[in-house]
Structure formats: structure tokens, C-alpha cells
Symmetry: none
Subunit: 418 residues, 2 copies
Amino acid sequence: MNAEILTIGDEILIGQITNTNSVWIAQQLNLIGISVNYITSIGDNEQQILEALLAANKRADFVFITGGLGPTKDDITKKVLANYFKTSLQINNDVLNDVTRFFAIRNKEVSEINKNQALVPIGCTVIRNYQGTAPAMWLEKDKSVFISMPGVPFEMKALMTEQILPKIKANYKLPVIYHKTILTQGIGESALAEKIEGWESNLAQKNIKLAYLPQPGIVRLRLSIIGENENQLKQLIQNEIDELQKLISDYIYGFENYGEEQPTLHEIVAALLIKANKTISLAESCTGGYIASLFTSIPGISKVFLGSFVPYSNEAKSQLVGVSNETLQKHGAVSQQCVNELAVNTLNKFNSDYCIAVSGVAGPDGGTSDKPLGFVWIAIANKNNCKEYQFQFGDNRSRNIIMTSNAALNLLRKELLG
Amino acid sequence: MNAEILTIGDEILIGQITNTNSVWIAQQLNLIGISVNYITSIGDNEQQILEALLAANKRADFVFITGGLGPTKDDITKKVLANYFKTSLQINNDVLNDVTRFFAIRNKEVSEINKNQALVPIGCTVIRNYQGTAPAMWLEKDKSVFISMPGVPFEMKALMTEQILPKIKANYKLPVIYHKTILTQGIGESALAEKIEGWESNLAQKNIKLAYLPQPGIVRLRLSIIGENENQLKQLIQNEIDELQKLISDYIYGFENYGEEQPTLHEIVAALLIKANKTISLAESCTGGYIASLFTSIPGISKVFLGSFVPYSNEAKSQLVGVSNETLQKHGAVSQQCVNELAVNTLNKFNSDYCIAVSGVAGPDGGTSDKPLGFVWIAIANKNNCKEYQFQFGDNRSRNIIMTSNAALNLLRKELLG
């Protein structure tokens, strides 16, 4: 079974709002085994809506429509649906009661405009909206089901979750779709593709799809499979992941199970610290507080995060964190010696179990032939020792900051896992 | 002139990522007078892409395509474009040089897979990508212009801003649309709407559109007008802004002129510091490094930004920043006394001209009846004095962090302007 999503409303086309309804609907449909082939956004325009309904009618089993159901003149979805289905609009008494009650609860009278919310195309199945005034409507034509819903996200979500998805699951035989995403850090998309080429080339014959989803310093690999038995599909994907582990285990930092909360690298590291009851401090030069802001975005992080220095100037590095003047003069602020002293001294000052220190050339200025843009040193210290690592990232300042942060977090993750 | 946006990639259809590229492109096009009629998302599927190209070709002056240009096997956009344009792919030597250089800078060899990034449909105009390896491509057929771009947001945005939008503006006659955005901080959307109700109600008859663009702690008011003479339009908008200044000057911290770089509050403050040649340090408790990361996102900030403390624990506040134990015991970490000592001591330690200190209850835990969630103290110190300010924000941790940062930055801005 396949679906299309059709969002109606000028606000998306002028870029005023992001189309979050579609993402949510697509997630919900994928989870019950309906694949989404098209997502289309159009304006409150009769001709465009008619064309889109016709195109979807030729292709899709289900057409999920949001928007254009408000009481004002610019909302024309119902009128156009009636036109497309060669019928007319008629007051539905259940909906009229719902609308009247909706306003009564709020101590308001129903205006004539609002009574029009109870107009629906003759022959449609009404799905009543308990959160607002515009009901959803279920219409069928030539093997396609059209489901028109209000665009207000919380109304649409309640209608989908409580009524529409259960109705679909009860009435249609759906396949099972299973996704799992492997999270990698420290290897680029193409280097990764080369490393796993042999493994990847066998996926097609097993009907498993692979997608590469790159972010700065991170590549997520999503595996997808369609079938009938969820446990069997899970096992088939797990077999592939077991094989993949043999090839790139060094780079894997976690997994996303589709439909569950998606873990970020800093959340994974924070969870490890909290589990081990180990505290952390930071000395961030080139990342300038970015790693601290990632950690402190997590509720409850104060259990393990003691604090951070951002010693941006050389004076701050020497006078506040105690990097020796000899190190700064002989080796410079971006050096193995400097990050070592930053990490060890910060660990001691905060009396933390671990410390991350970073220093690098973020750019766009300050690169030299010895230390070009993107040249970065990272140190990971614990109470017994300190290890330093050198990286070469690119020439984009904000990406360098993110890539340095991801590399540092992954080094600490590995250290925590021993 | 009208446009369609076509995003290619399974990740949108399965609801894994939100389609933010389309919002951004739609905004940019609307701003130069091109209306967007359709936004369509499809998968990495040859048949779907061909159908979408054909449909768009019948309707649109411009078709903006993102995604499917990566080096891996699931990316097929170029192949399908070549098919649709009845041509074939050929190595472009400029792009091959770009790709080679891209890897050389990173001390890596170009793999065979990556060399394929230089394959483009014969007859297309190549728009070189200076941020990544996939070039954009400009193709024309039957009065439609097709522009295919990589889906990585920062690459797509750089290509659009630096090359594609200027090329369109230079080659097509577009109506003049003039926008100016007023930036306000410290007043909510509805309170603002009440304050400017009379002024706003007169805009429609002058054919000026107003949009409210709220962010945490900040509301941007965008005024738009369409016409033919830019200077005249500018003057009409300026007249309205002059009137608005009389109503809400206390909240206005800047303006955005469309087409110029859009200033953020931290960039405005950084520019004031650089102009006055005054240095800054920070002591961030509840914002946890967020303000430091904002400042250090700015190239060249090291001229004035000396560094930051993130004294997250009480021990760090007392031992590393010298907040007195009496203050912490008697008044607590979220108090006027504590932010005063944080600011004054940090200013002295860094020997900076100014210091911002913040301490608050970010949430979701830790609120009390005296100091509920969102209760925040901010101090602004200079070498002569220190002023403290109390705020009450909401119960959402990430919004509280951003709202505290914006409030602190605006206080410093006002201090710098005397």
C-alpha cells in the first residue's frame, strides 16, 4: 500500500512555516507499513488542488490532505473536494452539534461563518474532531481513499492517532516495514562507502535498502526492509549489522531504532558518564563553548558536568588555566603540549574524573603551512593519564567547530567504554 | 515568474528529516518576487523523478531540485536528468579539479567514486560548489529552467546565495519587492501586537504587508511592499518604521535589509565591541556555554572575546570564580549577589572591559516557589560598576537558555550604547 501527502496552504509556499505535518504523517504511515511516495505542497488555489487530487488519484492507495478547512474565504478545500467528487456540500448535524458545543464551552456563540464548519461533501464519512471545529473527511474513488484533515498540528495528530490510523489498520492488510540506523563518527561518506562496498552490494538481493545520511563529522546509515513478520525482519537487519560491525566497528557510536527517540552523540556520552557516575570538565579553545552548550542542553546534566573553561586568548590559557609560557612560545596554542596542559590542569582545577581539551585553527583566518585551517588537537584526560590526538578538518569555521566537538565526544565515549 | 521546488530523497518520505531546504528556498524566491506554486518531495526513484520533472516542465518557469547528487549508488538525480534531457553524463574538468582540490586540502586522495562527482549532463551549465563536491547544474527546456543542487543545506544555501540567485536577478525581469525587518527583543508577540495595533491597521490600505516572525525572546517584524521603483518603496517603508520607532523604540535592537547579511543580536554586540575596541568575558551558569558559542561562531571574534567560565557546580563558582561561600549559602547560586560576584570576579580574572554573568533555573527540575522554572539573574559589569537584572522566563529548558542569552546580549548592547 502506498500513500501521498498533500498539504494545502499558502504559508508553506511562501516559506513562512516549515511543513512539519508531513514529516509526522510520513513517520506514522511508515510505521504501519504504508510507504509514502509523494509529498506535495500547494496553495489555496482551486486549479492546483484539482490537478493534485487527479494526479494522486492515479497513483495512490491513500491520499492524506491537510489544510484549507478553516472558516475563512481563503480556505477552499471542501468546496474543491465536492467539485472533484461531483457532489455538493451539506450540513452534517453531528458536526454542527460539535461546533456549537465547542463554542459553548468557551462561552461564545456560534457565528454563521463557524456554522459552515459543519458543511461536508455529501457521501463522505465524517471523522469528528474533538479538538477543534473542522472535522476530517474520508472519501473513496477508484481504489484511492482521500482523507482530508485540518492543518492545525495538534488537531490533525489527534484525528490520526485516535481515529484514522486505527480505522486503516482495522480495514486493510498492511505489510511490516522495519528500519534501523547505524550512527558513525570519524569517517566521511565516500571513505565509508569504499570500506563497506562489498557488504553493500549484497543488500539489494536481500531486498534491503541502504541510505547514507551525512552530517558534519557524522554519517548515519539507514537500513530498511519490507515484509510480513516483524521479528524476522528485525533478525535480517540485525544479521547485516553484525556483518557491518566487523568492517567499521571503530566508527560506530550508536543505533537508532525507528520510531524511538533518536540519540545524539553528546546524549550517549552523557548517559555513559551518568551511568558510571563520573564527572567531566572541559577546556574549549577552538570550539568556544560549543561542547559545553551541548552538554548543558541535557536536563539533569549537573549530576556529572562540573563546568568548563573557554580560554580563548593566550593570556587566559596561561593565567587562568596554567598553560606554561614556554609551551605557548615554543609550540603555540594549537599544539599537543598545549592541549595536554589544558586538559590536565582543567581536570585538576575542577577535580573531575575526565576532561576534554581542544585547540585548533577554526578559520577562516589564522592558517599557516604548518597548521592549516582545520588543524586541531584534542586531549582526553583522566586522573591517571592524558592522551592527545591530532585531526585535520576543513576550511569552514562552523563545520570545524562541529566536527571537532563530534570527534572529541567520540574519543571520550571510547575512553569511557575502555 | 513562478517556481516549483522538487526535493529528492527517501529520508523526507519516511519522515526521517524535515524538509527545511524547501522553506528556505521558498523564502528566498518570494523575497525576489518569484512565487512558488508547488513543493514536491519524492524518493530516489527514476520513474517518480521523471514524472515530477515532466509535470514541473509543463507548469513552472523555474524548477529548483535538491538532493540525490551524492557519490553513492542510491543517488540517481544526475542520471535521471540526463535521461530526461536525452543526453548523457560527461566529466567536467573544472569540477574534477574542484573535487581533487577539495580532497587535497584534506590530505586525501580522490577515489574513483568521488571522481564521478565531476560527471554532469552534456549541455548543462555547471555552477561550481566551493563547499562540497557536487556541483549545481542549470538546464533549460521549453521555457523552464531546471536547477539541480546538492541537498546538504549549507552547500545548497551557498550556491543559491552566491551564484544562483544573482544569476536569476541578472537575467530575468522580476518585480521589485522591498522588505525590511525590524528586530525586537524583550516583548512577546501578542503584547507587541497590542502595542502597535493602530499602526498595523493602517498598513493594508498602503499595500504594505506585515509578518510577525517570533523566536525565543525575539520577535522580528517584516514589512513588505511590491512595486517598480525601489527608492520609492524604500521611502514608503522607512516612513512606517519612523512611526513604529515612536511606539516601541525600547525593544528595537536592529534592522535587516533584504539582500544584506542578516545581523543577529550577538553579531550586533560583537560589532559594537570591536568598534569600541572593548574586550569581553563571560561567566555562564544556566546558559552553560551557549553565549560563548554564539560569540565564537563569529570569525575574528578573538580581537575582543577573551574567554568564558562555565562554573556549573557550586564548587566551581566558589573555587574557580571566587563567589563567596556566604553568598552561596545565604542567597543561593541563582541570586543577585551571586551574579554580581560572578561578573566582577570574572571581569577581573580576564582583565576584560565588560563581563556578562548569568545564573538561573533552566529546568525542567529545580524550580521552587521562590525561584520557579525560568527565574534568571543577569549581571553586566564594566570596570567601574556592575548592574544586575532579574527575569522570569518559561518552563522549557532550551527556550530558557536562548531567552536568557538574548536578554543578556541586549542588556550589554544597551550598556555599550550608553
